[in-house]
């Protein structure tokens, strides 16, 4: 089908941006809101964390729609890489490629060759015994979960929903995201990648 062929091409950034705003609109129209990290709190509540902190004592059943949304994103990811994948790997800029290569991270492969969107050197199952990789996955995940709740939202809740609603707190949070991201990328990652 022509339609499948067209959406299988790499998307222009403006198309992607439009589709993200459309997703936010759909969720609002359905009576929800666009915020992925709230689901982590819901998962804690379902797991019984309410016994340890009143932060997790809320009616998590009212948040099931959001869990359905985020778990369905797994299906969306599956469909996208298996049926809508472009034959080309991620078209990374030359300077990023050169930098990463110098740090031992190979250029992204296409989806047909393996994990197209994450470096095998860090995310590959066979490289899981590396202390560095475990540190990055566990430490990074912890910071995302802790930081998102401390800040009251993540990229979807603050950078998209919050900025769209012209919320100053969201702007402060996004500035924080970038301060943290720049510190990690420029000061910590270069040595972490060569460990």
């Amino acid at each position: 089908m022509d339609f499948i062929r067209i959406i299988s091409e790499p998307w222009h950034w403006s198309v992607s941006g439009i589709m993200i705003a459309f997703t936010m609109f759909l969720l609002l129209w359905f009576g929800g809101k666009f915020g992925a990290s709230s689901n982590l709190r819901t998962l804690c509540a379902i797991g019984g964390a309410g016994a340890h902190s009143d932060f997790f004592r809320f009616d998590w059943k009212s948040q099931i729609w959001n869990l359905v949304f985020i778990l369905s994103a797994i299906i969306g990811g599956y469909i996208a890489v298996n049926y809508l994948a472009s034959p080309e790997p991620v078209n990374l800029s030359l300077s990023t490629t050169e930098y990463l290569t110098s740090k031992g991270i190979a250029y992204p492969k296409s989806n047909f060759e393996g994990l197209g969107y994450v470096p095998q050197e860090i995310y590959g199952f066979e490289n899981l015994s590396s202390f560095r990789n475990l540190f990055m996955l566990i430490g990074g995940g912890f910071l995302v979960g802790f930081g998102a709740r401390y800040a009251g939202g993540c990229t979807s809740g603050h950078a998209i929903s919050g900025l769209s609603n012209l919320q100053l707190p969201s702007l402060i949070a996004v500035i924080g995201f970038f301060i943290g991201g720049l510190i990690m990328t420029w000061l910590i990652m270069p040595s972490l990648l060569t460990l």
Binding site: L84, A148, N165
Partner: protein, 137 residues
């Protein structure tokens, strides 16, 4: 039944996250290294269009499919929690190359090690819940 529409929206979101390449660890490195406009273009377009949609929803008092008013809550005023929480989040975002939405999407790609990241993010949320009264907000 009411969850089917959220499931369809989630499937769409997973496809959009993948096709936009926002799920890519490489793209996040590239963004923080200021070596491509790609991610800024995506976020910028989404925010500009999102702001127009939010404005129109408010102006025309658009209702949800259930007939309720679509509500927008103002965030509590503070600097500390947003800045400090944001910095911690940013450190983790650049380290894993994934924020919460892409984390789940990447599981669908067969990146099974991402389940470790998700489990750790849940743990981070749990620890925040336990200790939050000790942190300035």
């Amino acid at each position: 039944m009411k969850y089917i529409k959220f499931s369809l929206a989630g499937i769409l979101f997973g496809i959009v996250m993948t096709k936009s390449e926002a799920v890519s660890w490489f793209r996040i490195q590239e963004m923080f290294r200021f070596e491509s406009f790609h991610m800024y273009g995506i976020i910028g377009t989404a925010v500009i269009l999102g702001a127009m949609l939010t404005f129109l929803i408010k102006k025309f008092k658009l209702k949800t499919i259930y007939g309720n008013q679509i509500e927008f809550k103002d965030k509590n005023k503070s600097i500390t929690r947003y800045l400090v929480g944001g910095i911690l989040f940013g450190l983790g975002w650049a380290m894993t190359g994934a924020c919460p939405g892409p984390m789940f999407t990447l599981v669908g790609h067969g990146v099974w090690t991402m389940l470790i990241v998700i489990a750790s993010a849940v743990l981070g949320t749990y620890v925040y819940g336990l200790l939050r009264s000790r942190f300035p907000h």
